[in-house]
């Protein structure tokens, strides 16, 4: 039984690389799962791709059948058309309990850029749902992801990680937009995209006093729905160029694999109003706003996800005590999960051993019943109970040893010994 993860995230790889390795949209994910099934038919797989990370989890009963680091890197390379040497150094790998601990840290947002951010949980859930829809996951990944979600809940409940500024939008607005603008109630906010990130950003901006909200989305209906929730106006993406010049704050959070706003479009929007500062927050990965936009004039303040790193690091340092508490919970839960996994591996042997001994004792009791026919049912009941106790007492030491061994990993040696000693066949 084997679990592993290969990943690159905001700590190991630049946004440039992450956006080249990202899996955007359900169609691309479906294609990825098809290829993964073809390449690794004996493995369960789950792909987790967010703006801060690209992670590939694999699990299989037979450790020998586990894909190697190079094989998984090769898959990423061929799928995205990115040469392996361009990212191999940024691609990390964990296996076994380290892989479990990694997912628990990710899901509890300890590994997130913004410590305590709640969005990662729904992203993990969505990743697992996609894997399920593409029939890529199985019992091991199911147990792993269910447990990760439970652990993240425990971390949020038992620590104070989720207090304070816990979203990328809140950090960006609190750290940068407030450095530009004094107030927001007289500003126009243009949100490009109508997903969860866009909604969360709107919530934060609304709390800061924003009244004039414009939402632009590929699906105009969805844009209007979201805008209506915040008392704004929704438009189709075709109106973007027309709306850009009206905005003081622009937040882009789409799943597009190409920039939606290029330098040319933005330059036109800035014509005749270069004296007006504009705060542009690009939360997309791949980016939605071309980086060249930042150089158009002195009053364009463009920030992407990687620009928030420094602030997030300070945020992290100030809550190091809570991180320690969360890590202790995660360590404890990882250990328990691994014990469960290993114990599960010993399950079939234990079951067969019990069945075998039970069969032997039952047949011996039947023989005894035939020989001692003068004994009544009550007497035989007593005999049966005594034999069952003897069987349990005899089985206890080997099963206890098996359980102890399973704490540190699948006890292959002991399982083999039990198979040979008691003639147990798979």
């Amino acid at each position: 039984m084997n679990l592993q993860v290969i990943y690159c995230n905001h700590q190991t790889a630049s946004l440039d690389l992450r956006e080249r390795l990202a899996f955007t949209g359900a169609e691309q994910l479906a294609a990825a799962y098809t290829q993964l099934r073809d390449r690794f038919p004996n493995s369960e797989t789950v792909v987790l791709s967010t703006c801060n990370r690209v992670e590939l989890y694999t699990a299989q009963d037979n450790a020998a059948a586990a894909p190697t680091h190079d094989e998984l890197a090769g898959f990423l390379s061929s799928f995205h058309g990115v040469p392996v040497e361009e990212f191999l150094g940024d691609l990390l790998q964990h296996s076994g309990s380290e892989a479990v601990g990694h997912l628990f840290r990710v899901c509890s947002s300890i590994d997130s850029m913004v410590l305590g951010e709640p969005q990662i949980v729904s992203q993990v859930k969505e990743a697992y749902r996609q894997a399920e829809a593409n029939e890529a996951c199985g019992p091991l990944t199911n147990a792993l992801f269910q447990c990760a979600i439970r652990v993240s809940k425990r971390v949020r409940t038992e620590t104070r990680l989720a207090e304070g500024r816990v979203s990328i939008a809140s950090v960006a607005v609190g750290e940068f937009a407030r450095g530009i603008f004094d107030r927001f109630d007289d500003k126009t906010v243009l949100v490009i995209g109508a997903g969860e990130m866009a909604e969360e950003t709107l919530q934060y901006l609304r709390d800061d006093g924003v009244r004039d909200v414009l939402v632009v989305n590929r699906n105009p209906e969805r844009a209007r729905e979201l805008a209506a929730e915040w008392g704004g106006q929704g438009f189709g993406i075709d109106r973007l160029a027309e709306l850009l010049p009206t905005a003081d704050v622009i937040v882009a959070a789409t799943g597009s694999d190409q920039p939606i706003v290029d330098a040319e479009m933005f330059a036109k929007a800035r014509d005749g109003q270069r004296e007006r500062p504009v705060f542009v927050l690009d939360l997309g990965a791949p980016r939605d706003i071309a980086p060249e936009v930042a150089g158009l004039d002195d009053n364009v303040f463009l920030y992407d996800i990687d620009d928030l790193q420094e602030t997030c690091q300070r945020n992290r340092k100030s809550r190091s005590h809570e991180i320690e508490r969360a890590l202790s919970i995660i360590e404890n839960e990882s250990e328990r999960f691994m014990q469960d996994v290993y114990h599960r591996a010993t399950g079939p042997i234990v079951k067969r051993l019990r069945e075998q001994w039970s069969d032997v004792s039952q047949s011996e009791i039947e023989r005894l019943r035939r020989k001692l026919s003068h004994l009544g049912d009550d007497d035989f009941g007593q005999v049966e109970q005594t034999v069952a106790r003897i069987v349990n007492k005899l089985l206890h030491p080997p099963l206890e040893a098996l359980r102890d061994e399973a704490r540190d990993g699948t006890p292959h040696g002991l399982l083999d010994a039990l198979r040979r000693l008691f003639h147990i066949r798979d």
């Binding site: 750290e175 940068f176 407030r178 450095g179 530009i180 603008f181 004094d182 107030r183 270069r274 004296e275 500062p277 002195d298 009053n299 303040f301 920030y303 620009d307 420094e310 602030t311 300070r314």
Partner: protein, 303 residues
């Protein structure tokens, strides 16, 4: 109350400044409160000192602020401290002390080297000019405080702008007001200080005309008049440009304010230094009045 010395409030401001610098490394509410406490204590001592000086001026039939050059400089520092206290009370997270308090300390420090003798610009027998002189000095004092504020605000704007463009955030703990607020405050500092300086300079010229009766003639070709005139024209240019160029960017406004106000400050300081180090130079200064047998009467730094 009469025992208050310059050192008392200088030391208070110095401690407040040190705490503000420390707060950049280790922000905390306690340190902020102690810093504000020292600034406020210094401000109270400063106010008492000026009131004492004003009383002394009245005894000699001189108006407050005019008792001496030293008092005038201290009034300027007092105005800057008032502005500092106003800003930090509006937003306790701001780190304006690191910009304003060194200015205050420099002004107070320089006052040690200025004359604390009562000015002879207004003699007891010339009480009719008292109102004009009071208008001259007070408008120059407030106008100069506005110029100093303009310089500091422009510096803060440029620093904040650079930081935001370089995506630095407030990593050093230096928390500055938003660009929008700095730009607005900068605009107002110029709008208030330029008319006041104009009034101050105009009344100064009127006083010089009065004073020149019986003294040497006022010469428009005097280098001090020319330099002061150029500085004033620079400020007027900035004033007009800001009024009639609504599409100027905040950065342009900050740079121009810094240049115009900086030039004025350098000019005024330079003239004062030259006047105090070279009696020959002050002899030519139209802003310094010579009366027969009186010795130099300083108004130069103010006009």
């Amino acid at each position: 109350m009469a025992d208050v010395t310059i050192f008392c409030f200088f030391a208070s401001y110095a401690v407040a400044f040190a705490l503000d610098v420390l707060r950049l490394k280790k922000p905390g509410r306690t340190m902020w409160m102690v810093g504000v406490g020292f600034s406020a204590a210094g401000f109270v001592a400063h106010t008492l000192f000026l009131l004492n000086a004003a009383d002394k001026g009245r005894e000699e039939l001189l108006p407050p602020l005019l008792s001496s050059s030293q008092d005038w400089t201290l009034v300027l520092a007092w105005l800057v401290v008032g502005f500092h206290l106003f800003l930090i009370c509006c937003d306790r997270t701001l780190s304006v002390g690191v910009f304003l308090l060194p200015l205050v300390l420099a002004l107070i420090g320089s006052s040690y080297f200025l004359a604390d003798e009562p000015s002879q610009l207004l003699n007891a027998d010339e009480a009719a000019r008292r109102g004009w002189t009071m208008l001259h000095v007070s408008s120059l004092a407030i106008g100069s405080a506005g110029v100093l504020a303009g310089i500091v605000l422009s510096l803060m704007y440029l620093l904040q702008h650079r930081r935001l463009r370089q995506k630095g955030g407030s990593a050093t703990g230096l928390k500055l007001p938003s660009l929008e607020r700095l730009s607005r405050m900068n605009w107002w500092s110029v709008m208030v200080s330029v008319p006041l300086l104009t009034v101050g300079m105009g009344t100064g010229l009127v006083l010089l005309l009065f004073a020149s009766e019986g003294a040497r003639e006022l010469s428009l070709g005097d280098p001090v008049v020319i330099i002061n005139g150029i500085s004033w024209l620079g400020l007027m240019g900035l004033f007009g440009w800001m009024l009639f160029t609504p599409r100027a960017t905040g950065k342009q406004v900050a740079w121009r304010t810094l240049l115009a106000c900086g030039f004025l400050l350098v000019t005024v300081v330079g003239l004062n230094v030259l006047a105090s180090s070279s009696p020959g130079f002050s002899g030519h200064a139209s802003t310094s009045l010579h009366r027969p047998d009186d010795g130099p009467v300083d108004t130069g730094g103010r006009s």
